[in-house]
Structure formats: C-alpha cells, structure tokens
C-alpha cells in the first residue's frame, strides 16, 4: 500500500499486484506489437510481437479462469500459457523465465526486494541454460543481466525497480551495434548490427511494467 510520502511510493509485491504486473505487461505487448514485429522483421522472422501478444493474451485468460493462491502461482500460470501458445524461441525462453521465478516464489503471499531479486536471478539462470546465450550475443539476456544486477544491488524496492528498468533499457539500447550470435538473427552475421534486438526490447517492457505495478 502507498503511504503517501514522496519517494516512498512502493506498493508491496503481492498476488494482486503481481496480477496487475502481468496485466500491464500484456497491455504493453499488445500496444507494442507492431514495434516488436518491425524490429524482428529487420533481423529475424517478424513474429515476436505477434507471438508475445498471443501468449500474454492467453496468460491473462488463464489467470482469470482459476484461483491464483500466491505470487508463485501467478507466475507459473503465465509460464505454462507462454510455453503452450507462443512457440518460436520466445515461448521456451519467457516460459522458462516465469517458471523459474514462479518456483522461487512458490507459496509466497508477500515478497520483499531480496526475495524478488533472487527470483529474477533464478529466472535469468534458466533463460541462459535454455538458450545458451552469453552477454553481447544480442539477445534478451543483454537486458536481463544488467537489470537483475541492479535489482540485487538496490537497498529499497522502489529504487531497485526503477534502477532495473533503466538498466534494462540501457541494455536494450546497447544491443543495437552488436552482431548477433544466437537465434535467427545470427544468420545475418555482420548485417545484424545496427538493429535493436526485439527480445531485449520485450524484456525492457517487462521491467517497465514492474515499475508501474509495484512502484506506484
């Protein structure tokens, strides 16, 4: 709950605010569908925005269809919806991210900064194990790593979320000059440079939605 003091706007991470986070992320995927399609058309196969929008639409449908007892349950429901509806590389990668986070937060009704950051770390490790991407490969990992680092280095949730979103944005922007070494963009070799990575972009929106949902 907000207490009304400037700089102290943090909303607790609970089941309800996590649902709000997912609703906001779904809205971002719908709103930015064409942007993600355009980014993916430049260096991939042009389906990222469409697939993420389809997956998050299904996730919100499933969240509404069954009682979600805790934070972990919300994230696991999203994970399974993405795995079974997105396809491509984004389905297994985002599915693994949310599944690992959901497992880390299983049974939790309220989550503090350290626990939340720890769940992101597990999610990041899962994504890297699944996709084998390293930093600078021009993937979602380039937004995830600095954002998770920022969360872990923060002293309060509000500041941590804002720092994470900013770090994700910087990581996303920094993918532009990189030559892709993973995924379909890697087939382009040098020609993949000069384009922002669509996966890093959707990851930035995930952190941006977290600020909106949890930091008021």
């Amino acid at each position: 709950m907000t207490d009304g003091n400037p700089g102290q706007l943090t909303v607790a991470i609970t089941r309800d605010t996590t649902l709000d986070w997912m609703n906001r992320f779904a809205a971002e995927m719908s709103e930015h569908r064409q942007e993600l399609v355009a980014l993916d058309t430049a260096i991939g196969d042009g389906d990222h925005g469409t697939n993420m929008n389809r997956g998050m639409t299904k996730a919100i449908e499933r969240l509404g269809a069954a009682e979600q007892p805790d934070v972990g349950a919300v994230l696991k429901t999203v994970a399974m919806a993405l795995v079974s509806t997105v396809g491509g590389a984004a389905g297994p990668l985002y599915g693994t991210l949310f599944l690992q986070m959901g497992n880390a937060l299983a049974g939790q009704e309220t989550v503090d900064l350290a626990t939340y950051a720890g769940a992101w770390r597990k999610g990041l490790e899962g994504v890297q194990a699944r996709g084998k991407a390293q930093p600078q490969d021009k993937t979602m990992v380039d937004a995830l790593i600095p954002a998770v680092d920022a969360l872990e280095g923060a002293s309060d949730l509000d500041g941590g979320l804002r720092a994470a979103a900013q770090a994700a944005q910087e990581g996303m922007t920094a993918t532009t000059p990189l030559v892709a070494r993973k995924g379909r963009a890697s087939y382009l070799g040098e020609r993949s440079a000069g384009h922002q990575d669509p996966g890093a972009t959707s990851t930035y929106y995930l952190f941006e939605s977290a600020v909106e949902a949890f930091a008021g």
């Binding site: 399609v37 389906d47 469409t50 389905g91 699944r130 996709g131 070494r181 020609r191």
Partner: protein, 333 residues
C-alpha cells in the same frame, strides 16, 4: 498484402480444417493442441516418426503424414515453432511401443521447444530419439551462430526414415539412418522475391526487380549475398559449387538431386534448373540415381528454389524407393 485467407489470426486453424476436409480418410486432425496424425496410429511395433515446425512450408510437414513417411506432424503458426504440448501429445499418439523419432530442423525455436517437450515428456515412458537436420551450406557453422539451418534434406530424412520404420527397423536404426542422411546431404537456396507472412503483412526483405538473393533461408532470412540476376546456368553454379565443395561430393558418388521450389516458382523453371544441376553433376562425375523436383519445402509465396544433393548408399536408395502414401508424396502404392 493479397492472400486467400479469412483473417491473419485464423490461417493455421483454417488450413487444418482444409486438411481434415481433404484427407480425413487417411489423417486425423487434432486442433488443441494442433497436430496431424495417421488415422491408423499408433501402429503397433513400428517406430513412430514425428516432425514439426512453423507453418508456411507446405507440404512440409503435414503433407507427409501417412504410411511410409511421418506418423504425425506438429504445425506451428506461420514461421513459428510449434509448442511442447503439441509435440508431447503427438508423440503419445504415435507410440506403438517401439519408440518415437523426432525429426527437428535446426532452428533456435524448434530445438528449444522439442527439448522442452523431451523434458516435460519424461515420465511418459516413451523412448525418444532426436534427428536434427542442418544441411544449409549458406550458413557458416560455428560456435558464434545458431548453426546451419535444416532445409531440403529434412524431406529426404522423413521419407527414408519412414521407409525404414515401415520395415520395422529399431528406434536406434531408424534414428542412425536419419542422422546419416543428414550428414550426407547438403543444400542451398536462392530467392527471386521475398515472401509476406500473414501476420506482418509486409515483405520479409526488399529485393530489387533485377536482383536475386543467394543463400536464402526458408523463412526469408537473407542469404550470403545478392547480385544482379543471371541465367539459370549461373544461378545453378552459384548454388551447386558450395554444396559440392562442402561435403565434398566426389567423382563416382551416387546422389539424389532434389530441386525444390520456394512456393511461387513454376515447375517449368524448376525443370530448367534441374537440367543445369544435371549438367554440373555430370561434369563432376556424379551419378544422379534418384531425383525429386517440385515444391516440397516452401517459403509461402516466395519465388526461388533450393538444391539439395544427398550422397546415396544402398540402404538410403532402398527406403527412398519404398512405398509411400501421403497427401504430398505418393508412389509404389
């Protein structure tokens, strides 16, 4: 964008209904999760073979479901890998007690989804062997790329493994044969025009009226280079040289030559290309013992072609010639 569709979001479902309407006597269609399966599956005692991948490459893979080839196919959205739940259900549907082969084209999404299916499917007590196809010489194979793409050889793997499975070869024998076909096959493609996915509505890349893209992938991924269009003989040379040098193919080798259309190329042009391929093969001392010419692994309405050469051995020839009865490939029945 002009396409014969009802709505971009309905493309896959509408196509599946069409397949069921046309071929319901021999295949069954599951809509959720989406897969196409032989009507007599599971065939007891036979190794089951499934494949899957994004749609837009028709007739691959759904058109190859039937006796002598695939037991099931899992179609994804256009150019998007299918999902693990499809693969798990299809695997269960075709398991006749002898195990199941997954034929997977080497794309990041396909590989990850089939991996997840294998992990999530553990506990179903079905033995699964994966055959990965990665025959596209246009892509540099290194630690710093996603590796070579699976293209034309996939059709040959599915046919030859299908023949071996009908002959009641074991799971390991079928999978090893599939891996041998992949290891001895090389492909390269080219495009005269881009293609348009229904979801994006825009061309996948820009190509001048007088330009061709050499080394194109089946999702419109740009290739090695582009150049001004030349005669068919020159284009055949551009594709055949990297293929021949890569394996390498040597004088005296017996080969299967597969000239594939990307979807929008008329057969007349594919035969012109085949003639050029045959001339080059003859110059190099290769014997073309079998051939396949037509649109078998496509890229929507893209104009262009790919060439696949497979170095044959007796077992491959035997199972290539074996009867096959699918909507898209049919002989010996």
């Amino acid at each position: 964008m002009k396409k014969l569709i009802n709505a971009p979001d309905a493309v896959l479902q509408d196509e599946l209904h069409g397949i069921e309407a046309a071929h319901g006597d021999r295949v069954r269609v599951s809509y959720d999760p989406a897969y196409i399966v032989r009507i007599d599956a599971p065939v007891q005692g036979k190794v089951g073979i499934i494949s899957g991948g994004g749609s837009g490459h028709e007739p691959m893979h759904g058109g190859y479901v039937g006796p002598g080839m695939l037991d099931a196919a899992c179609p994804g959205e256009v150019f998007t890998s299918p999902t693990p739940d499809q693969m798990i259900e299809a695997t269960k549907a075709v398991n006749g007690g002898a195990g199941v082969v997954h034929v997977v084209k080497n794309y990041t999404g396909d590989v990850m989804n089939f991996d997840m299916a294998a992990e999530m499917g553990r506990g179903e007590d079905i033995e699964v062997e994966t055959v990965l196809t990665n025959d596209d010489v246009a892509v540099e194979d290194s630690l710093y790329t996603a590796g070579r793409r699976g293209v034309g050889v996939t059709v040959l793997v599915e046919k030859i493994c299908g023949g071996a499975a009908e002959d009641r070869k074991s799971l390991k024998e079928v999978a090893d044969l599939g891996r041998r076909v992949n290891a001895n096959g090389r492909s390269m493609g080219m495009a005269l025009t881009p293609c348009i996915t229904p979801a994006s509505g825009n061309p996948s890349f820009e190509l001048g009226d007088d330009e061709v893209e050499i080394g194109i992938g089946i999702h419109g991924e740009p290739g090695r280079f582009r150049e001004k269009i030349g005669p068919a003989s020159q284009i055949a040379e551009r594709l055949m040289t990297p293929i021949l040098e890569d394996l390498p193919f040597n004088s005296g080798d017996r080969v299967l030559a597969f000239v594939n259309g990307m979807g929008g190329t008329p057969l007349i042009e594919l035969y012109i290309m085949y003639n050029e391929v045959a001339k080059i093969a003859q110059e190099r001392g290769l014997t073309i013992e079998r051939n396949l010419i037509g649109n078998y692994i496509t890229s929507l309405e893209m104009q262009g072609c790919s060439i696949t050469l497979l170095k044959l051995d007796d077992e491959m020839v035997r199972y290539w010639d074996a009867p096959v009865n699918t909507p898209a490939l049919r002989w010996g029945v």
